[in-house]
């Protein structure tokens, strides 16, 4: 059977410089190009301080890069495109503390004039997708960190964009919570046919989750490797990580990052 592969998001030679021309000038992105196909799970990994957050802000349209273009479904973006959303690392600050869990998830829907019944349905589905059914009436503060990030993901899902950008979403939760959040995400990605671009500084995480891993150099960052991960799905926290192919790939990525870190381009 023939499947048509369509590019969903692509970055074309993106440069970003903070305070250009001033003494504190800082070149964060030094010409980044790549593309993500519909339905793909791509992770981006790089040494700390390599401009991952800057890249995500540019890709999501929250910020305009100083040069280069970001294309969503073939069109250059100038604001956050309709079919994409961003999940932030700092869930405690990105959720609204004055809204209960269900209201946080419903938050983007109300502004889009969806009928009440449809909003309810989407909220219930999104919360069930992230495993938070039964927590609807709690406030974010009453939940653990991992659960708060689940709420933030549910909020992004309820809004039903085809693409999720995730900026180190699991960087501030403990290892066990992180593993269950990773599996939850893979499950949702598969079931809801999403396209995910996942930024992380964790090498294991990048390989475990993705179809492809993009490795960034130290800032001003560029893509120094595009590694295909051909490990079978569904993946398993124990079996996949013991798979020789996984071990080989994580070593390859780790070497690339170590070299990128010690030898800035």
């Amino acid at each position: 059977m023939e499947t048509v592969v369509t590019t969903l998001l692509s970055a074309d030679d993106i440069h970003h410089t903070y305070s250009p021309g001033k003494p504190e000038e800082h070149r964060a992105l030094g010409g980044i190009s790549f593309s993500v196909d519909e339905g793909e799970f791509v992770s981006i990994v790089g040494p700390s301080g390599c401009g991952k957050t800057t890249l995500m802000r540019c890709l999501s349209g929250l910020m305009q890069p100083t040069a280069g273009t970001v294309l969503m479904e073939g069109r250059a973006i100038s604001a956050v495109p309709e079919d994409l959303t961003l999940v932030f690392q700092d869930y405690s600050r990105s959720l609204y503390p004055w809204l209960r869990v269900a209201d946080n998830v419903e938050f983007p829907l109300k502004d889009h004039r969806l009928p009440r019944a449809e909003r309810r349905k989407r909220v219930a589905q999104a919360l069930s997708d992230v495993g938070l059914t039964g927590h609807e009436t709690k406030y974010p503060r009453q939940l653990s960190g991992g659960m708060q990030q689940r709420v933030a993901i549910a909020r992004a899902l309820a809004y039903r964009p085809s693409m999720l950008l995730m900026d180190e979403p699991y960087a501030s939760v403990d290892a066990q919570t992180r593993e269950s959040l990773e599996d939850m995400l893979l499950d949702v990605w598969e079931r809801r046919n999403k396209t995910v671009l996942f930024v992380t500084h964790d090498i294991d995480e990048s390989v475990y989750l993705a179809d492809r891993v993009l490795v960034l150099s130290k800032g001003p960052s560029q893509v120094i490797a595009d590694i295909t991960v051909d490990i079978a799905r569904p993946r398993d926290q124990i079996d996949t990580k013991a798979d020789p192919e996984f071990v080989e790939l994580r070593a390859e990525v780790a070497r690339l990052i170590r070299n990128a870190g010690s030898d800035p381009t």
């Binding site: 600050r93 004055w98 938050f107 983007p108 502004d111 653990s144």
Partner: protein, 274 residues
């Protein structure tokens, strides 16, 4: 980890408001407060008895007057309490609506802030009672003048707190809204407004007590009704029992207004109490 947090929450929840309300600590707490209040009353009673002066009537004369001549007297309500409360609420609400709107706008705009900050600080440095003569000239001797004195006087705390509240909105909360396609209007009403609400309420609380003060002051000059007017008239006519009773009524009014505001605040800021 998450289960642990849940269990903790469940314990707090089952130990609900009613149980806490009825706890031994709580009763002891209330008992202590009532004892202190009783002590103050006793001091008032003994001091005025010892003074035996017409300027300082005993509370056993004053408190019946509060009830008979103020709180249960329909003419008093018509001539004193209602006019005062209406002026106060008009002034307060007018100031609140304008100050919150302006304050949030200023807080979100660096240009507006830089442009208006010196003016705001200049205007708020003027003690509002000093504006009485000016407002008399502009607005005459009617209710408008009194409402404006109250509004002008209570505005600064609300304005400054609203500016501060709008400035301190977390950028990530705004970015999240942008990432979820929330338009400009939605960001103002659904993010900036609730995020700034705790500080706005702090301003409103300060302003509410200012409003009572300014209401009384505005009624001391060129007034024909109101609580402040009657207290002033009583002191001129040597009706000291009724004058003191008026002060007690003001205290009751202040407590009630504050309780009303607290009630609204608890509803709006419910999420912070958990």
């Amino acid at each position: 980890m998450s289960d642990l947090v849940d269990t903790e929450m469940a314990v707090v929840m089952s130990d609900g408001p009613l149980r806490r309300w009825l706890s031994v600590d709580r009763i002891a707490d209330i008992g202590l407060r009532l004892a202190v209040l009783g002590g103050v009353y006793l001091f008032w009673l003994l001091a005025t008895r010892a003074a035996d002066s017409i300027f300082f009537p005993v509370p056993t004369d004053v408190l019946p007057a509060v009830w008979n001549d103020w709180l249960t007297d329909s003419t008093t309500w018509q001539d004193n309490i209602v006019p005062s409360v209406i002026r106060l609420l008009y002034g307060f609400v007018l100031a609140a609506v304008l100050s919150i709107a302006l304050g949030l706008a200023i807080g979100r705009s660096q240009v507006l802030l830089e442009m208006l900050e010196p003016t705001i600080h200049f205007l708020r440095a003027i003690p509002p009672p000093a504006l009485l003569p000016v407002f008399l000239i502009i607005f005459g001797i009617g209710d408008m003048q009194k409402v404006m004195v109250i509004a002008f006087g209570v505005a600064p705390p609300i304005l400054l707190n609203s500016i501060d509240g709008a400035r301190s909105v977390d950028q990530l909360q705004l970015d999240s809204a942008a990432a979820l396609q929330i338009g400009r209007r939605g960001r103002i009403t659904k993010v900036i407004f609730p995020a700034a609400a705790p500080k706005v309420f702090a301003g409103l609380r300060v302003s509410m007590s200012l409003a009572v003060i300014l209401m009384v002051i505005s009624e001391l000059v060129a007034a024909t009704d109101g609580i402040g007017f009657r207290i002033m008239r009583n002191s001129r006519n040597f009706a000291y029992v009724d004058m003191w009773a008026g002060l007690v009524v003001l205290a009751i009014l202040g407590i009630l207004l504050n309780a009303g505001l607290t009630l609204i605040e608890r509803r709006v800021l419910r999420w912070r109490l958990l």
